[in-house]
C-alpha cells in the first residue's frame, strides 16, 4: 500500500485521527532522534528532545502551512530544540579536531589486516561524524543521510546556502582524512 502523503496525514490528524499522527511519527522519528543525538551525544536527552519535538508538532499542527514541506518544518524544530538544549547546558563538548586526530588510540582499532565488519565500519563513520562541530554534524546528516538539497538545509539551520556549502566542503575533507584507509 502506498504511504499517504504528509498533507493528507496532517488533515486527518487535525480532524482528530491520532493514528494518522502516529504515521507521521513513524515516518520521521529516526531522523528526528538522529539529529538530536548528533547534537547532544546522549541517548536519553535525544529521546527527550525527540518526544518534545513531536508533542510540539502535534500541538501546533494547526498553524502549519500546507504549502511548506513537513519534513523541513520538523527538522527545523528539532534543530532549534537540540541546539537550545545544547547551549542551555553550557556543556561544551570538546570537539576534537579531526586534523589533530592522529593522537587517536590506534590500539582500539582492529588489526589492519583484519577485515572490518559492516558494524565496525559504521561505528567508525558515526564516531567520525560526532567529532565534527555540532552544526556541521547536522549538515552532514541532512545532506548525506536525508539527501536534502543545500537550500533546504539552509532553511532548517537558518544559515546561508553559501555557508552550508563551505561547511560541507570542510566537513567532508575532514571526514575523508579521518576515514581513508579505514573504510573503503
Amino acid at each position: 500500500m502506498k504511504p499517504l502523503d504528509d498533507n493528507i496525514l496532517i488533515t486527518k490528524t487535525l480532524g482528530g485521527d491520532v493514528k494518522s499522527f502516529e504515521q507521521i511519527v513513524v515516518r520521521y522519528n529516526v531522523m528526528v532522534y538522529a539529529l538530536a543525538y548528533r547534537i547532544l551525544k546522549n541517548r536519553e536527552e535525544a529521546e527527550e528532545i525527540a518526544q518534545d519535538v513531536f508533542i510540539k508538532i502535534y500541538q501546533s499542527l494547526k498553524s502549519f502551512n500546507m504549502k511548506s514541506k513537513l519534513s523541513t518544518w520538523i527538522y527545523r524544530i528539532t534543530y532549534n530544540a537540540s541546539i537550545n538544549k545544547f547551549k542551555s547546558q553550557k556543556r561544551r563538548i570538546e570537539t576534537t579536531e579531526i586534523d589533530r586526530y592522529a593522537e587517536f588510540n590506534n590500539s582500539s582499532l582492529p588489526d589492519a589486516h583484519h577485515e572490518l565488519s559492516e558494524k565496525e565500519k559504521q561505528k567508525i563513520i558515526n564516531d567520525s561524524i560526532l567529532k565534527l562541530p555540532e552544526t556541521d554534524r547536522i549538515i552532514i546528516t541532512l545532506y548525506y543521510y536525508e539527501e536534502l538539497p543545500v537550500k533546504e538545509i539552509a532553511e532548517i539551520t537558518g544559515l546561508s546556502a553559501q555557508n552550508i556549502k563551505i561547511k560541507l566542503f570542510r566537513s567532508r575533507q575532514k571526514l575523508y582524512e579521518e576515514l581513508k584507509g579505514k573504510v573503503n
Binding site: 482528530g16 491520532v18 499522527f21 502516529e22 511519527v25 513513524v26 522519528n29 529516526v30 531522523m31 532522534y33 538522529a34 543525538y37 548528533r38 541517548r43 535525544a46 529521546e47 525527540a50 518526544q51 513531536f54 508533542i55 502535534y58 500541538q59 565500519k121 559504521q122 563513520i125 558515526n126 561524524i129 552532514i140 546528516t141 548525506y144 543521510y145 536525508e146 566542503f169 567532508r172 575533507q173 571526514l175 575523508y176 576515514l179 581513508k180 573504510v183
Partner: protein, 132 residues
C-alpha cells in the same frame, strides 16, 4: 593518494548509509503516542466545554431586555405602585402597601432575580452533565 572534492564527495556518499543512523529505543513510538492520546483527551474535554449561555440563550435574553426597555419607555409614569390589596388582616403590613417604588429599581430587581435563578438552573444542569 589525495582526491579532488568530487571524489571525496563520492567517497563520503558511499561511506554513509541511512540504515546506520542512530535509532531511538523500541518504546519510543508507543510511549510518545500514549502522551499524544492524553493530550487529545484533554483537548476533547476543552472542546466539549461550551459556554453556559448559548447563542440562542443570549438572543432570548436580548429580546427580554429590549421588551422591558420598550415597556419602560412607552409608559408615561415614572413609578410603579403595588396594587391596593386589602391587608386589613395585618395593619402593620397594610401601612406599607401604598409605598411607591421607582420603576427602574423594580425592573432591575426583577431582572436580577430572574437571571440569578436561570444561572443556578443552568449551572446545575451543566455540572450534572459533566460529572454523571
Amino acid at each position: 593518494m589525495d582526491l579532488d572534492d568530487n571524489n571525496i564527495n563520492d567517497f563520503v556518499k558511499q561511506a554513509v548509509k541511512k540504515d546506520s543512523l542512530e535509532r531511538p529505543g523500541n518504546e519510543f513510538v508507543p510511549s510518545l503516542m500514549d502522551k499524544i492520546n492524553e493530550l487529545k483527551s484533554e483537548k476533547d474535554i476543552i472542546i466539549s466545554a461550551s459556554p453556559i449561555i448559548s447563542k440562542s440563550g443570549w438572543f432570548i435574553i436580548l429580546l427580554i431586555i429590549i421588551s422591558v426597555f420598550a415597556v419602560l419607555f412607552l409608559s408615561n409614569s415614572t413609578t410603579l405602585s403595588f396594587p391596593e390589596y386589602n391587608f386589613s388582616f395585618n395593619n402593620i403590613i397594610s401601612t406599607y402597601s401604598s409605598i411607591d417604588i421607582p420603576k427602574v429599581f423594580l425592573v432591575g430587581l426583577s431582572a436580577f432575580v430572574f437571571y440569578f435563578i436561570i444561572q443556578i438552573y443552568v449551572i446545575l444542569k451543566k455540572t450534572n452533565n459533566i460529572y454523571t
